[in-house]
């Protein structure tokens, strides 16, 4: 099987680090760039021994033939990717665009909310709403000023743009729900809220709009394997129905989603993942020590990344 196309991989053409945990990868895939629509996601496999992880498409450039992923290094795979995914490197697997594209309806005034790893994926939605002629209010949340990114991109497609930070170092001090409340207070005619971010945040957003009965769409990102509806690992409770987020979603009505169920299910593999991360970090330390001894190398990250490659081949 190795001689077949699979070995080729998908080239990383650009990388940008927004902070020590958040990084952007632009990957060449002209067909996907052509097909991608806001709200869709991909499944990535870093290497042959890797796991399949879902990542929302944060942007796509049809001209350049690339898609953009913004990733937070939180677990073993995303941390390993942070080391290994330099410009010129290749992802072993990349499939998509998956999921039903977000429905960019006839809403005239929308709030697009992004927090944490949801800031990047909310961007194509905001842009799509702008292109459809809507009045777009962007609300994004970060921990602190230094972590803010893409402000220019958002400002270019939002009629109003509200930044919220935990420490108040820029914009409103508080969670994105504060931003939503502020927007709702100044605009009585909001048709729709779209929120992407960690489940607690999306839950908060749905609560913030429930009383005013503003339609609120959220993008769910449960644990996935195939992303094609074949395993049911991504099932979520929406109203009284069970849905598979990868093919029935990932967008659902936030007022119907059972977020507590989602959060509990996200903890499914926590012990195993913790163990894998610790083991991997230990092996990185070992390797960088060995490399340092053997070659006198100083660039920790690079040598550990290369080391990870070579252990994989056997």
């Amino acid at each position: 099987m190795q001689e077949m196309k699979q070995g080729a991989g998908f080239e990383i053409v650009k990388r940008k680090d927004f902070s020590d945990v958040t990084y952007l990868l632009e990957v060449r895939h002209p067909l996907m760039a052509k097909a991608a629509k806001p709200g869709q996601f991909v499944i990535v496999m870093l290497h042959e021994h890797g796991e399949r992880i879902p990542l929302t498409i944060a942007d796509f450039d049809r001209g350049r033939g690339t898609i953009t992923l913004v990733i937070q290094a939180v677990g073993k795979t995303t941390k390993e990717m942070q080391q290994a995914c330099q410009v010129g490197a290749r992802l072993y697997g990349l499939v998509g665009p998956m999921g039903i594209p977000s429905h960019i309806g006839k809403a005239k005034k929308v709030i697009c909310v992004g927090g944490g790893l949801g800031v990047a994926p909310i961007f194509p939605q905001a842009r799509a709403y702008k292109e459809s002629g809507a009045y777009v209010i962007g609300v994004v949340g970060f921990r602190t000023r230094d972590l803010v990114f893409w402000e220019d991109k958002f400002r270019a497609c939002c009629d109003e743009f509200i930044v919220c930070t935990d420490d108040g170092s820029v914009g409103i001090k508080g969670l994105v729900t504060e931003g939503i409340k502020q927007a709702i207070a100044t605009h009585s005619d909001i048709d729709e809220v779209v929120a992407i971010g960690p489940p607690v945040m999306m839950k908060g957003c749905a609560e913030a709009t429930r009383a005013a009965r503003i339609k609120t769409m959220v993008s769910l990102n449960p644990v996935m394997v195939d992303g094609t509806g074949m395993c049911g690992g991504c099932r979520v409770k929406v109203g009284d129905k069970v849905m598979f987020a990868c093919v029935d979603g990932p967008d659902f009505d936030g007022h119907q989603v059972d977020f507590d169920d989602l959060m509990a299910r996200l903890r499914r593999f926590v012990p195993a993942e913790k163990a894998a991360l610790e083991r991997w970090q230990e092996s990185c330390r070992m390797r960088s020590r060995i490399d340092a001894v053997e070659t006198g190398a100083t660039d920790d990250a690079r040598s550990a990344g290369a080391g990870a490659q070579s252990t994989r081949t056997n």
Partner: protein, 501 residues
């Protein structure tokens, strides 16, 4: 020819096959059945009576010339035996392992009327394995005809159709959503039943027919079937995307951590190799006491995989009896040998919570057989007051699948009311030039039926493209009769092909 064999002169006992000891194998993923040796194969081949009416050929969904290949084994022309099988079935090492022979070829074997039937499956596997070892491939001379054929899904249906179209001279590309080809063979059926090397070897032969495999390609979303026919220039498309979309029962407790579908368990373990975690990154929640609901092949695989992953106790929960269990007889037998605890006539009521969103146990109810239902099988009905609870930390659902919704969401193919693709008797769909077969048309079935469907669709596709059906060349004895002229099917004449825009 040697003197005529009779039921009295052939070896009376079916040649046994070596198997790993049940206690030993329940802890490893190496193959359970070690397969025949050369002498075993020769002895078993000798048991075939070469009876003239060949019921086995009719019993085989793809009509392998079974007496023909067995005869070649007896004559020690092993490569000839391989060529005979691969004229109709390109994956003998796979089918020999996973076909339900007891309800197909072996089920109607003449020897089986009196003695145990000829072990056709084991012979087929032996020939297939020998071919892999020796590097044989049945690659005919292929004359290119300039047609482009696209295949969606690389399971047995897709592979069979791809092979036939490639042999007919078409330029064939197979698109697969996963990062590896093989469909259920790869992600579902575990190594101890069908090692991945066998699948890869058989797929490698397809590549030698000139078939291109494009993995990581989700058709419908990356491009649509309609785009394949227009922008991408495919003259015909075959859809073999399998059933997918596992069912759950809708009982309380199904979203607890520890409840999963057999497809998820098997995909994590087989394709993603969670069994080798942490060398491979995909995790799997280990179960100490595992309850598997269902009694088909998928359920058997889930149970036996759980055992090998280290479960102390594995239960099978099935609401009917062993007689109705849809799994291959051999798999149930193997599962019993390995110590799976079968609870026939038992139905789940509730999955119990430990208070932290994990599975603590299950509540079930006993069933009894009542009046026959529409399928003629006696319907299981609950026995009042027979509910009971037991301890479990993982619950696996293996109660079947529904149609995968992706193609329905993304193209205009007509679906039936359950969401499967509608196809006529030639497996043509509602879009001209698009054919479909396998589990996505019939619902979950078998490997060989999916392959049969792939071949049938290929025949339909050839007629549609105006190509001669290569079967006529391979099986000249069957090409005679009234419907053919110079070996060309009369219905093939005078095609006016209209290319869609």
């Amino acid at each position: 020819m040697a003197k005529k064999k009779t039921i009295r002169t052939i070896p009376q006992e079916r040649t046994p096959v070596q198997e790993q000891d049940p206690r030993e194998r329940a802890k490893n993923f190496t193959e359970v059945s070690l397969g025949y040796q050369r002498d075993d194969a020769l002895r078993e081949a000798d048991r075939c009576l070469m009876c003239p009416d060949e019921p086995c050929v009719r019993g085989c969904p793809v009509g392998i010339d079974i007496p023909g290949f067995i005869k070649k084994i007896s004559e020690k022309n092993f490569q000839g035996a391989y060529d005979t099988i691969t004229d109709t079935n390109l994956l003998p090492a796979i089918c020999g392992r996973v076909c339900p022979q007891e309800t197909q070829c072996e089920g109607v074997c003449t020897v089986g009327d009196v003695l145990a039937p000829v072990a056709i499956g084991r012979l087929e596997r032996w020939v297939g394995d020998l071919a892999i070892k020796e590097g044989w491939a049945n690659i005919p001379y292929i004359e290119r005809n300039g047609y482009k054929v696209g295949i969606v899904g690389s399971g047995p249906a897709g592979m069979a159709c791809a092979a036939d179209m490639a042999k007919a001279g078409c330029d064939v590309t197979v698109y697969e959503a996963f990062h590896q080809a093989g469909g259920v063979l790869k992600y579902g059926i575990p190594d101890f039943r069908l090692p991945n090397e066998v699948i890869d070897a058989e797929i490698g032969k397809l590549a030698r027919l000139g078939i291109k495999f494009e993995c990581n390609t989700l058709v419908g979303r990356l491009f649509t079937i309609e785009q394949m026919l227009t922008e991408m220039g495919y003259d015909a498309v075959f859809v073999g995307t399998g059933a997918g979309y596992p069912s759950f029962m809708g009982i309380p407790g199904e979203s607890l951590n520890g409840v999963l579908s057999a497809n998820e368990l098997l995909t994590r373990c087989n394709l993603m190799r969670a069994k080798e975690f942490p060398d491979y990154d995909t995790p799997l929640q280990p179960g100490r006491r595992v309850a598997v609901i269902g009694a088909g092949n998928t359920a058997m695989d889930a149970m036996r995989v759980s055992l090998r992953l280290g479960a102390e106790k594995v239960y099978c929960i099935y609401r009917r009896t062993k007689k109705e269990a849809p799994a291959r007889a051999e798999e149930i037998h193997h599962a019993e040998e390995e110590g799976i605890e079968f609870n026939w006539l038992t139905s789940p009521v509730e999955i119990l919570d430990d208070g932290k969103k994990n599975v603590r146990g299950m509540r079930c109810i006993r069933m009894e057989l009542g009046e026959p239902d529409d399928s003629g099988r006696r319907r299981p009905v609950p026995v009042a007051g027979s509910e009971f609870e037991f301890e479990a930390d993982v619950v696996v659902f293996a109660i079947g699948t529904n149609a995968n919704p992706i193609l329905g969401q993304t193209c205009k193919l007509k679906l039936d009311k359950r969401g499967y693709i509608q196809a006529d008797e030639n497996l043509a769909t509602s879009i001209s030039g698009v054919f479909a077969g396998g589990d996505i048309v019939t619902g979950a079935a078998t490997v060989i039926e999916a392959m049969g469907a792939g071949r049938k669709a290929a025949a339909g596709m050839k007629a549609y493209l105006g190509l001669r059906d290569t079967d006529v060349v391979y099986l000249p004895e069957r090409a005679g009769g009234t419907g053919k002229l110079f070996g060309i099917d009369l219905s093939e004449r005078g095609y006016a092909r209209v290319r869609i825009a």
